[in-house]
């Protein structure tokens, strides 16, 4: 006769086994919670510290005026915020279609060898140090044109965005069930329409995540901008001349000799975080469909 407390040969476990299982279960759950908490707390500490150091300096003047001459009080970073948006905007417009297009091409017109080759190159490209990418853009654009420019900075950021978008888009498209593709094809929809109207929309959310990841990364890059767009203390929105950028401002001010500059560096860091956050929020809102929770 089997009882719940269990004997050998019955399906019920003995009390000891149950206790052992429970302990292991608790241990595993506990360590998962600990690891999660660790990751989250690191993130939280970084954000909180930047907030603490930066937010006190944020005011209307800081957000709406251009920098003052070095050493004088006041002034702001509006040119850097706008410059960063222009740089990353141009870079995204150039790089996102290339990355997504390449991902669609190798995913939908499969040739295993081509797929492996493109994927390998994308992996290598993500691993190239960003300062090298900057040098490349310098040799490619700054030298021939004879001037530092926003275009050169955007190109450098574009090189950083392309592989990130390509890899995330490839994963996103691969996760779209083949049954959707089949359903559309069987309705007599041409292949390119199936891709553009069924596959891409189905992968939209994951594609968007890749896009946000890539732009956030590009917004924070400093090294590729140093000898491409150079930076600018004045108001400028013309990408054929040097543009200012938030990471450049943080870098210059942080190593400057004045207290005022250090405070501005923290405030700029706070603004950089805020811009990244704002962009990812806006992208999600704009692209949210009525079928997503």
């Amino acid at each position: 006769m089997a009882t719940l407390t269990g004997r050998r040969g019955s399906f019920a476990a003995t009390r000891g086994e149950i206790r052992k299982r429970r302990i292991i279960d608790r241990l595993m759950v506990g360590s998962m919670i600990a690891v999660t908490a660790l990751v989250c707390s690191v993130l939280f500490i970084i954000i909180a510290y930047i907030f603490y150091r930066g937010v006190s300096y944020i005011n209307w003047e800081f957000l709406t005026s251009n920098p003052r001459p070095v050493g004088s009080e006041g002034g702001g970073i509006v040119n850097a915020i706008v410059g960063s948006l222009i740089l990353v905007g141009i870079a995204s417009v150039m790089a996102v279609p290339v990355g997504v297009g390449a991902a669609i091409f190798i995913g939908e017109f499969p040739s295993p060898r081509l797929q492996r080759a493109v994927r390998f190159m994308a992996d290598v490209l993500t691993g190239v140090p960003s300062i090298v990418v900057g040098l490349f853009a310098y040799a490619l654009i700054v030298e021939p044109t004879g001037t530092f420019s926003g275009w050169a900075g955007s190109a450098a950021l574009g090189f950083i965005i392309v592989p990130i978008v390509l890899i995330t888009a490839q994963e996103a498209l691969r996760l779209v069930p083949g049954s959707l593709r089949e359903a559309a094809l069987a309705l007599g929809v041409p292949r390119w329409r199936v891709i553009m109207l069924v596959v891409v929309p189905a992968a939209r959310r994951a594609l968007l995540t890749g896009l946000i990841l890539a732009t956030a990364r590009a917004l924070g890059e400093t090294a590729p901008l140093i000898f491409t767009t150079l930076g600018n203390n004045f108001w400028n929105t013309d990408p054929s001349r040097p543009l200012s950028a938030l990471p450049l401002v943080i870098y210059r001010y942080a190593v400057g000799p004045y207290q005022e500059e250090h405070r501005q560096a923290w405030a700029a860091a706070f603004m950089l975080l805020a811009v990244v956050f704002f962009i990812s929020l806006m992208t999600r809102v704009v692209f949210r469909s009525r079928y997503e929770e």
Partner: protein, 293 residues
């Protein structure tokens, strides 16, 4: 694309003539009766010496038979015998898979759908397909799912016209009463059986002449299955239906003609009543009586 009837007649005659010759020529075990069971004037879709491959794997081997107009043809056989592959050949979906290839002819209205001048996209609009697992488009509402054939092909039509087509298709699929008040909800919110009827409505909305169904009930409970079976019988008053099924009772219930396949070949084809009462081939009998498969 419609051809004068005389051509269809001619083709059918040639098919008849070619059949025994072909069988003898290659020493292949082909029953001459396979095409004769369907009188010429009743043949709607003629499959002629069709072979299908996945790379080197030969999945469908020299199949010749004809689907009767406005009748239900069931294809039965053990798992892996090539039923789905054969069905996918009939609307040129097979070639969408990697390294997949088809040889032979499939003739609709006197025209070989594998002719070089034929656009597979147009073939699929005339020969619809319903899949084993319901696959509504997750980013579309119920109404948009039904009208997907129009929306994805950017067919221009008045709103009222589309709404009417939507209703007609849903009524034909016996789903209208259940969803008429929630046409704007996502298609994926429906139950499995409703989703499958939604997919049938989607196929019907583009007015196919032939409907191919690949185990449309295998993911459904008995009640939902019964509804789809009724539906299939009703549909056959207007269009020609080919249904692949694992379920012998289902084949007996819904079909007028039954084809039995084994290891990529068609072993026997004839009126369903004959097949289930007096099969000519002992392998058919063994399968039907449940001795294997």
């Amino acid at each position: 694309m419609a051809q004068p009837q005389a051509t269809g007649q001619q083709q059918t005659e040639r098919t008849n003539g070619a059949q025994p010759v072909n069988g003898m020529q290659f020493g292949i075990d082909v029953k001459p009766g396979m095409i004769d069971v369907v009188p010429d004037e009743e043949a709607r879709l003629i499959v002629r010496n069709v072979h299908a491959y996945y790379g080197e794997a030969h999945a469908v081997k020299d199949i010749t038979f004809a689907m009767r107009s406005r009748k239900v043809t069931a294809i039965i056989g053990p798992s892996g015998c090539g039923k789905s592959t054969l069905l996918r050949c009939m609307n040129r979906m097979h070639e969408e898979q990697r390294a997949a290839r088809v040889e032979g002819q499939i003739i609709l209205d006197g025209e070989n759908i594998y002719d070089r001048s034929v656009d597979p996209v147009l073939v699929r609009r005339r020969i619809g397909m319903v899949f084993q697992k319901p696959n509504p488009f997750p980013t579309m509402s119920i109404a948009d799912n039904v009208l997907a054939g129009y929306k994805l092909n950017r067919v221009r039509a008045g709103k009222g016209d589309l709404a009417e087509r939507c209703e007609v298709a849903l009524r034909r699929a016996a789903l209208w009463d259940e969803v008429k008040d929630q046409l704007n909800r996502p298609g994926t919110d429906l139950s499995g059986g409703q989703q499958q009827r939604l997919c049938i409505a989607r196929s019907l909305a583009v007015d196919p002449e032939i409907l191919l169904m690949d185990e449309p009930c295998s993911a459904l409970d008995p009640l939902a299955t019964a509804r789809i079976e009724d539906l299939v019988k009703e549909l056959s008053q207007e269009i020609t239906v080919v249904i692949v099924t694992h379920n012998m009772q289902q084949a007996a219930r819904v079909s007028d003609m039954t084809a039995f396949m084994l290891l990529g070949r068609m072993i026997e084809y004839g009126p369903t009543t004959d097949m289930f009462t007096t099969p000519r081939d002992e392998r058919t009998e063994a399968y039907i009586t449940g001795r294997f498969g």
